[in-house]
Symmetry: C2
């Protein structure tokens, strides 16, 4: 709640865009807390912050947890921030109990996860794992033409460390679910076996713009009517590949968008997701087939352009097991919940064994100022995170301990 | 082509919005021609211009023809302008042949038919026939806050005559079809038995905005999916009431319109038309029933708000007969074509026997800078107009004469 004051909005949310002065204030506050808890702070060249608690064997690669503290323009208090602060809570609990771990522990703040101000999204973790280069990220500009490099420098968070040269033994991220599954099932904890893969398309149907009155139905080339069938097929495809198939048309642009003109062109987005590469590629094939058939059937030109693709990301069995054991030892009611949204953990998983812990959020709402979560659920998530990290960093300790 | 130079656009169209200085230049040019042709010019308080050729019995109500010379922002050369200039051509032909008519003849320019700059559309003829008041029209403002009254005054076209106090014996309007029916059927002339009635709605479907990734298909409240079924039903309804049923969704607004967010709300326009009051009201009932059923089936809130209604406008049998006889005597290939679009003739029909003559336009395209028409078709339409006016204004003469 203290961190949420920085960039607080009237409706109870937070607007703390990446690399703004508010982001600096947030980073300053969290690192001040970290130093007060005895952690050493390292910043890399893309502004990722690693806050470290030494291990008994400090040469072991650290067990890392964290997330991000940048928000959407009309974001909430919990998305990302919870994962970072749950990490600090783990450290404090260990400090309070005077406990050491074999491996060092670290809490990370990844730079610009949201991508609201600068794309690509998940920028800090993306550079860290080599998904794209530091130079590519530096050159990204916001709508005012300011670059990531100059804004990182201006808030004082360009470090010396080369991104990715920081070793990670294992990575855990706790996060609000951003969906309604846990809440509706009445569970306190979600074990995340994987993040859904996704393919994004822009689909453009081109018909012929004409006057709604004088043009008989039989000779129309109504781009919107053809588009509606494809929009319905997107949902039908998702339903054919359960339980993790997702199909969404979120964005529609009709031309000329006038009440008494038959639409000459309709452009819309398509978002297909699934947990397995096989299912996702079958969904993509179904879509291509349907679009080809619609073109044959209607004669209208239909362009289907892929604009983005992330393969499904299964998490590491060791990390999933560590989380399951933690949940079991603490006795929380839990279920498996795949993550439908992207997280820094997807990129972390490319360089280290990784896993995620979900807690419910109110009505499944996120990326919204009314985003909310129960304190008892947040506490449960932090307890599981502590146990899971101990299970990996210091196995004997982990098995001995109870809830923090 | 001379008139089309005023407000000519680079793409070959015309932008001459109502009550602009370009409109004034157009009015000045046409009335200059009219005066040169010996016509007297009267302007009424809403700026309608009546250009009069005396009859042998000048106390008879005049046989009037005309249309409008204002255009869409990206309009063509023919919409409206053709009807006014065909009227002047009728006068010139009579002058050249030294022919008198029993009743006087008039050519009218109605103010602001298009409604692009000021609503309501068909403003001059609407005030003339009492569809709405002069004060209501005067108070209409454009997007810069300028009123009809001040702009009419500024271009010098507020006359003294009270709108509607001008008698009309019969009214004919010749116009490009603005649809593809005549061209596709290969006919030169269209006799217009009626103008389709229409009902306009705004339909708003409200679901629940949520993240496209984490939200399972089964628990979504996707406003766009529900909207697509209604959009398809609009077309299905039109097809159930042939041959003049029309159903169009032209305008769509998705909220929040973001690629990875399930639409929480979709607002779209619905345009239903038919030639008979009975069919049109059955179409409206079908739509209401479908929307009620969709609400029951999906649980989503659906608002259907009627925003406009014009009843079908059948033209007067005397005028239709006069046109049919003219076509027959001149031997043009013709067919009946209902008008799908609104015209000043709809309002004229409320105060006098009225009829319309259509000529083909290229590819059925109108309200577009590429709008085009064949000179031979335009000539044929003017010939039919001449004969039809003579048939009514001076029956014996009309039956004797050949093509102008």
């Amino acid at each position: 709640m203290e961190l949420a004051k920085i960039g607080a909005t009237e409706k109870g949310g937070v607007c703390r865009l990446a690399l703004t002065d508010l982001d600096r204030q947030g980073r300053d506050l969290v690192t001040k807390w970290a130093r007060a808890d005895g952690l050493s702070v390292t910043v890399d060249q893309i502004g990722n912050i690693f806050m470290r608690r030494a291990g008994r064997n400090d040469s072991l690669p650290p067990v890392v947890t964290g997330s991000h503290i940048d928000t959407q323009p009309t974001g909430g208090k919990f998305d990302g921030n919870y994962g970072v602060l749950a990490g600090l809570e783990v450290i404090r609990t260990l400090n309070e109990h005077g406990m050491e771990t074999e491996a060092p522990l670290e809490v990370v703040i990844w730079t610009n996860e949201e991508g609201s101000r600068f794309v690509p999204v998940m920028m800090g973790s993306g550079v860290f794992c080599g998904a794209f280069s530091l130079e590519h990220a530096y050159q990204a500009v916001d709508s005012n033409g300011k670059s990531v490099k100059e804004e990182l420098a201006s808030i004082g968070y360009i470090g010396d460390e080369v991104p990715g040269q920081h070793p990670i033994g294992a990575y855990f991220e706790s996060h609000i679910e951003q969906g309604p599954v846990l809440e509706q099932a009445g569970h306190v904890l979600g074990v995340v076996p994987a993040v859904l893969g996704l393919t994004w398309y822009d689909c453009t149907v081109t018909g012929f713009e004409s006057h709604a009155g004088p043009t008989p139905m039989a000779i129309r080339k109504d781009a919107l009517q053809v588009a509606t069938y494809i929009m319905q097929e997107v949902v039908a495809i998702a339903n054919r590949y359960p339980p993790y198939g997702r199909g969404t048309v979120g964005m529609v642009q009709v031309t000329p968008n006038s009440r008494n003109v038959i639409p000459g062109q309709v452009k819309f987005s398509i978002d297909l997701r699934n947990v397995s590469e096989d299912f996702l590629s079958r969904m993509n094939e179904d879509l291509s087939t349907y679009v080809r058939d619609m073109h044959k059937q209607t004669g209208l030109n239909i362009q289907l352009q892929q604009v983005s693709h992330f393969p499904p990301c299964p998490f590491h069995s060791d990390c999933i097991r560590a989380i399951r054991e933690a949940v079991a030892s603490l006795g929380y009611s839990s279920m498996d919940v795949v993550s439908g949204a992207g997280h820094d953990a997807i990129y972390a998983a490319r360089v280290a064994p990784s896993g995620m812990i979900f807690v419910p959020c109110k009505d499944g709402v996120s990326h919204n100022e009314i985003e909310d979560a129960e304190p008892s659920h947040l506490e449960a998530g932090a307890n599981v995170l502590l146990q899971a990290m101990l299970n990996v960093a210091s196995p004997r300790l982990g098995q001995k301990r109870d809830a923090a």
